[in-house]
């Protein structure tokens, strides 16, 4: 039973962690809550659905193209919304409001274009299910978990090794100082937006394959990823990966012992308590933005 619980948690973790790490990186660099991230996630899912079902593109090519579509939307948001706001010296709250607006607008544009109904991506694949330590997973789910883990490792490596990763961490640490040493902040913001959006797009594709495609599919994962980023400690991708797993595990425990409709309420109630009691997050890292 425990192994099945963990396996189920890992399935939701595969997309939640991808979404949260992207959200967390964008937050760390720009210090604003990128709610439209949920819309990028949805765009990824819809792009995969359209390419596979309407245009008949081979699945793997379609999924790759979905990541490109997500990256494009993310870059567009950064260039057309966030950069002008930042240049005008807008407050973090203004960025949050604009981002919320962008999320709502994109979600309902998708609903207008594709209809409100829930869709499924049917690959008609015959990958047999796998069994690990007594827990059963479908082949697709196993592949999703492995892909997500690989993508997360790649992101951690990028952050650690590459020049871009160093510049990103510099901007996240002290944006003004980063500018003083000659880092092109606008470029870093754009690249982080693209990187985060690719992760969100991948999460969207996994969600589309495992759960569904619907205009509102981004809302719930978005709400959970806000919790994951705050709980995991802002600016710590490893913390975010861990906290998103804890959240998924908690959800599965709630499903097991209580019922699934209380998942969101309990997760958010815990966030509220945490925000009030321990605002710096579980990972002991100081958040300088925190007032008082």
């Amino acid at each position: 039973m425990i192994s099945q619980l963990v396996a189920n948690a890992l399935i939701t973790w595969s997309y939640l962690a991808l979404l949260s790490v992207g959200f967390g990186l964008i937050y760390a660099c720009g210090r604003f809550f990128h709610f439209a991230h949920g819309a990028v996630f949805t765009v990824g899912g819809y792009a995969a659905f359209c390419l596979v079902h309407t245009l008949g593109v081979p699945p793997l090519v379609a999924f790759g193209a979905a990541l490109v579509a997500a990256a494009f939307v993310g870059a567009l948001l950064e260039q057309c919304v966030y950069r002008p706001l930042r240049n005008r010296g807008a407050s973090d709250l203004a960025m949050l409001i604009a981002s919320m607006g962008a999320y709502i607008a994109i979600q309902h544009s998708l609903a207008l274009a594709f209809g409100e109904d829930t869709k499924r991506i049917d690959l008609r694949s015959s990958i047999s299910s796998v069994s690990v330590l007594g827990a059963r997973l479908t082949g697709g789910q196993a592949i999703a978990i492995v892909t997500a883990a690989a993508a997360l490792c790649a992101v951690l490596a990028i952050l650690d090794v590459t020049r871009f990763g160093k510049a990103l961490r510099a901007v996240a640490n002290d944006s003004d100082l980063a500018r003083v040493v000659g880092i092109d902040r606008a470029r870093i913001h754009l690249l982080v937006g693209v990187l985060g959006s690719v992760l969100a797009g991948l999460a969207g594709v996994i969600f589309a394959l495992d759960v569904k495609v619907a205009p509102s599919m981004g809302m719930n994962p978005l709400l959970l990823c806000v919790v994951a980023v705050i709980v995991g400690g802002i600016g710590s991708p490893v913390g975010t990966i861990g906290s998103s797993f804890l959240i998924c595990l908690l959800q599965q425990v709630i499903v097991w012992f209580l019922s699934s409709e209380w998942q969101d309420a309990i997760v958010y109630a815990i966030l509220l308590v945490l925000l009030i009691v321990k605002p710096e997050g579980l990972a002991r890292r100081r958040v300088r933005r925190w007032a008082v």
Binding site: F33, M100, L112, E261, Y268, L272, L275, I276, P279, A291
Partner: protein, 293 residues
């Protein structure tokens, strides 16, 4: 004609919501994403109480407003430690939790199916039966809410609230009880939203959780920002515009589902465009876009 009255009643309800949110967001600088939840608390309290509590409409509205105000005070409490965008996230959490309660306490709220047959308001011998009587009722409530808000913001209280918005620490150093003001204003704001909820429940005689969701909260924020935060008439103007524009779209021959989506696209775009172009809104005094000190 009936349709026009219907739209006017809706506008009235949203004016109350927008003005109530503005007291918190525009004056005290506490942007809340949970206003629709308080709207819902009012509506569900009304639906639950109107059959069980004697004394008619006014008593029920009073109880609903008092209850919502108490919850509002609890939500205002974290604002003492949590500022600006984190306060917005906290209220987002409150909205999610309350939405979930509306959806899942099936025995109390009817769950996603909602509650039906909510009785019409009775005040003394007068029973609201026609659309016109509901419009009168709504107009009275709007008038009262605007009057109370004007009274609050035109005097000392308004200056204190604006001072808290501009510089909280400095305000506190003047010996002003910042905590008390913040908690009180969120309680007042929540009770006003509950009054709107009572009228909504009585008018439609049917409620379900989708009317009190996060999307509705964002719509209320749009109304405040479009009209302009930090003024009483700005949000009222914003609410009137944001309700009437989508209603006008119906006459172009679009289906209800299309209009519903266009409505949300309008609300979302309003937020993005105003933040980019005119963060203080049409007639507002307070610029959400400005960096806080």
């Amino acid at each position: 004609m009936d349709y026009l009255l219907h739209v006017l009643i809706l506008i009235g309800i949203y004016i109350i919501l927008a003005v109530s949110l503005d007291l918190m967001a525009g004056y005290a600088g506490m942007l809340s994403l949970a206003q629709a939840a308080f709207f819902g608390i009012g509506a569900y309290s009304f639906a639950l109480m109107s059959n069980r509590v004697a004394g008619g409409f006014l008593v029920v509205i009073g109880c609903a407003a008092a209850f919502s105000g108490m919850v509002g005070a609890c939500v205002g409490y974290p604002s003492l430690r949590i500022r600006t965008e984190y306060f917005a996230i906290t209220t987002l959490g409150v909205q999610v939790v309350l939405s979930s309660l509306f959806n899942n306490c099936v025995s109390l709220t009817g769950g996603p199916m909602g509650m039906t047959n909510i009785p019409a308001p009775i005040i003394g011998r007068w029973v609201a039966s026609s659309k016109l009587s509901y419009l009168i009722l709504t107009a009275v409530a709007v008038g009262l809410v605007i009057a109370v808000s004007r009274l609050l913001v035109c005097r000392y209280t308004g200056r204190v609230l604006r001072a808290i918005r501009e510089d909280e620490v400095f305000t506190e150093s003047l010996g002003i009880n910042v905590a008390g003001y913040k908690i009180t204003i969120s309680a007042i704001s929540a009770s006003m939203a509950a009054v709107a909820g009572c009228i909504y429940a009585a008018y439609f005689s049917f409620i379900d959780p989708s009317s009190f969701s996060l999307t509705e909260s964002v719509a209320i924020v749009s109304a405040v920002i479009l009209g302009g935060a930090g003024s009483v008439f700005g949000p009222a103007l914003g609410a009137a515009l944001l309700i009437s524009i989508p209603e006008a779209l119906r006459f172009v021959g679009l289906t209800t589902a299309t209009v519903a989506n266009l409505r949300q696209i309008l609300y979302g775009s309003v937020l993005v465009i105003l933040m980019l172009v005119r963060p203080r809104g049409l007639v507002g005094q307070f610029d959400f876009g400005r960096k806080a000190r």
